[in-house]
């Protein structure tokens, strides 16, 4: 659809204006990460301090074992993302397309678990994990996150949008439910899967409660705990904290951009091969 030059220009202008306000905190984070602490809260605010203090980034490792925490976070997050994509899509498919007794009731029960604030499930969670003997291990971090009602719910909704006609055609051709899942639903929901990966990644990468409650050994800790340690009770080292935060955000941005590649507009639904 060709848009007129006027409409396109207007789009650009409006979008840019909005975009500027949106990126403001991030710009502040970047600028702060390169300043000296005395330059952070000057008024009027400045974009850069006297010099660019790149060693704020190096200083992160002085405060906590950044490399170790980063690796731990990567390990846990990767496991969680892959697992949630698999379990979420399978469960979502079951709830969307398979008919079985108690389906809706079970689904509502799943959803219900999202409605209880973490602060009250924290202690029962800890006690459960202690019984499994998993406290202070990475398993305590990824196992509870490998299946999540959020993913199931999201994919269920997307699976619902796939027309029955396709499913029927596949069944006529002798496709098993698994085949339908694998060859029709998954490929058609690429944007949803991409979006979900970004969210699951974010959730696991930034998970703070889990490591706080379950991890005691410094070697097992993840990035969010490290960043929290930069916020002292008597004063925060803003530049280093922001440097750490910026580094922590980068993988998410990368993932977001990769996910965008899967947003191919207007996937046509005709002429699909089985």
């Amino acid at each position: 659809m060709q848009k007129s030059l006027k409409v396109r220009a207007l789009s650009h202008i409006l979008l840019s204006l909005g975009a500027i306000t949106m990126i403001f905190p991030f710009i502040w984070m970047l600028s702060t990460s390169l300043k000296d602490i005395s330059e952070v809260f000057t008024f009027p605010p400045t974009l850069f301090g006297e010099t660019l203090k790149f060693d704020n980034y190096a200083a992160i490792s002085d405060r906590f074992p950044f490399g170790q925490f980063f690796l731990n976070s990567t390990k846990v997050t990767t496991i969680v993302v892959i697992a949630q994509l698999i379990t979420g899509s399978m469960a979502g498919y079951a709830f969307a397309r398979l008919k079985f007794r108690g389906r809706d009731v079970l689904f509502v029960v799943y959803l219900a678990t999202l409605m209880v604030p973490a602060q009250v499930t924290m202690i029962p969670n800890f006690i459960t994990m202690s019984h499994y003997g998993l406290v202070d291990t990475h398993a305590s971090l990824y196992l509870p996150q490998m299946a999540n009602a959020f993913s199931t719910f999201l994919l269920r909704q997307f699976f619902l949008t796939i027309p029955n006609s396709l499913v029927d055609a596949a069944k006529i051709d002798g496709c098993t439910p698994f085949g339908i899942y694998w060859r029709i639903f998954l490929p058609l929901c690429k944007p949803a899967l991409a979006t979900l990966s970004v969210f699951v990644f974010m959730g696991a990468w930034n998970d703070f409660m889990g490591p706080l409650v379950f991890i005691n050994s410094i070697e097992q800790m993840t990035l969010p705990l490290g960043l929290a340690s930069l916020q002292g009770m008597y004063g925060t080292d803003w530049p280093v904290l922001m440097a750490g935060t910026v580094v922590s955000i980068l993988p998410v941005i990368v993932l977001f951009l990769l996910a965008q590649d899967l947003f191919i507009k207007g996937v046509t639904l005709s002429g699909l091969k089985e």
């Binding site: 005395s38 390990k75 080292d237």
Partner: protein, 443 residues
């Protein structure tokens, strides 16, 4: 693109597994957090130790201290878990609920009695000896530690609210510094006078405030007490509804009404901490806990310390700090006590006192001999030693001697409403009376 994407994920996954596997040589996959799990030989005991990270400096000192402790005690290994300050309580209580409290841990002074009453802490009274004797501690620390004659935790240090000021701003305004000698401390009127002079207005804008920090609960408490206001009765019931309290509260609020101090939120919402405000000249004087000295000393401007201005005839402040305790269920009470003793040792404390973060809580550390171990002219401003008696003779922070933490929240909330102008002083004090009585009566 999907292939690239999946292979990217797979790649990252594999690499991280390899690297994580390599670097995780301590292989703690199956370690439980039960206190005192034995490692290699039967002779080595592992203690779990938990504390919050108030500042990078404190964490450093703890780590160095632990290394030293382990060197001196080859049979004991200490596993340290630092916890972000805000969440410390939830983690500690979660572990206690799950029966896996650490062996040794920090305890907030105002949570201490809550824990003692629930028998969560190991009783240390029989273990006290010449190295750690109750009588050696300054009065405020003693009254915090001592619960009906028994001790369940050793006070780590003491900190008290004091008056900090920016010498440069005083010089510019041609005002004399307040004396560091408590005997010569400012009266309230003198303080207000100076604060007024230091408040610079430009039209509607206030470029520089005279003072800041009086509305923080800790500071307000100090001023009320100094005026002779009671907080609690002997039996622990609230006694705040008195004329002295009213007088002090009104005096503090008047400062805000006259534009001499900003609303706590106005400056807080700019993201600056109080020390930063003092440094940048947004405020001329600040009432803050003595721990701020550690940060202030590194900020590169001439800072001065003075006793709090006095309402009554004598200057005074209050003191408080966290304690080191052991879990009542620890499997290694003897080793735990050794660690606590170490943490209360003068040597260990001196490291942090030198940097300005802590103040001594043993009487002998205030003697002429004693101060040599920790006084550092680069950190402690001129005349700082004159403040010794100010710290030494401080009373315990009233809120640590009561049995329920919620009382502090109630008082704080009501004071805030008063300062913001939403409620008059009589209602404030009577609300506090009623609400606290209700809370204390419950169970």
């Amino acid at each position: 693109m999907k292939r690239l994407y999946t292979s990217f994920l797979g790649f990252v996954f594999i690499i991280s597994m390899i690297l994580a596997g390599c670097s995780n040589s301590s292989g703690t996959e199956t370690t439980s957090s039960d206190s005192g799990a034995d490692s290699n030989s039967e002779d080595v005991i592992t203690l779990s130790f938990m504390g919050w990270e108030a500042s990078p400096l404190e964490t450093e000192s703890v780590k160095k201290g632990l290394e030293q402790f382990m060197a001196e005690n080859p049979g004991i290994k200490v596993k340290y878990t630092p916890v972000p300050g805000e969440q410390y309580s939830s983690k500690l209580l979660t572990m206690m609920a799950g029966n896996s409290a650490p062996d040794v841990f920090f305890v907030y002074a105002d949570q201490y009695r809550d824990l003692v009453n629930r028998e969560a802490l190991l009783e240390l009274t029989p273990k006290l000896d010449e190295e750690v004797a109750l009588e050696d501690f300054i009065p405020s620390s003693q009254s915090i530690m001592d619960v009906d004659g028994k001790v369940y935790g050793i006070s780590s240090t003491t900190v008290s609210p004091v008056l900090f000021y920016n010498k440069k701003i005083f010089d510019e305004a041609g005002i004399e510094y307040p004396s560091s000698n408590p005997a010569e401390s400012w009266t309230w009127e003198e303080f207000v006078d100076v604060a007024e002079k230091l408040t610079i207005k430009e039209g509607k804008d206030i470029k520089q405030y005279g003072a800041y920090g009086l509305e923080i609960l800790g500071s307000t408490t100090a001023f009320l007490r100094n005026n002779g206001a009671d907080f609690f009765n002997e039996d622990g019931s609230i006694a705040l509804n008195n004329s002295e309290a009213k007088e002090s509260l009104e005096a503090i609020r008047k400062l805000r009404e006259d534009g001499i101090t900003p609303a706590a939120q106005t400056l807080e919402n700019s993201g600056m901490s109080a020390p930063q405000m003092l440094q940048t000249g947004k405020i001329g004087m600040m009432i803050e806990g003595s721990w701020a000295l550690q940060q202030l000393a590194t900020m590169g401007f001439p800072v001065g310390v003075a006793p709090l201005p006095k309402f009554g005839s004598e200057p005074s402040t209050h003191g408080s700090a966290h304690l080191h305790s052991a879990s009542a269920n620890t499997k290694h009470p003897e080793e735990a006590w050794k660690l606590i003793k170490f943490l209360s040792s003068r040597d260990y404390q001196n490291q942090l006192i030198k940097e300005g973060l802590w103040m001594p809580n043993r009487v002998d550390m205030y003697s002429e001999e004693g101060v040599k171990a920790w006084h550092d002219p680069k950190v402690h401003p001129e005349g700082f030693l004159e403040l010794n008696s100010f710290f030494k003779d401080a009373e315990a922070y009233p809120f640590v001697t009561i049995q329920k933490y919620v009382v502090q929240d109630i008082v704080s909330e009501e004071f805030e409403k008063y300062y913001n102008g939403d409620q008059n002083v009589d209602d404030t004090l009577s609300n506090i009376d009623t609400r606290v009585a209700e809370e204390l009566a419950r169970k």
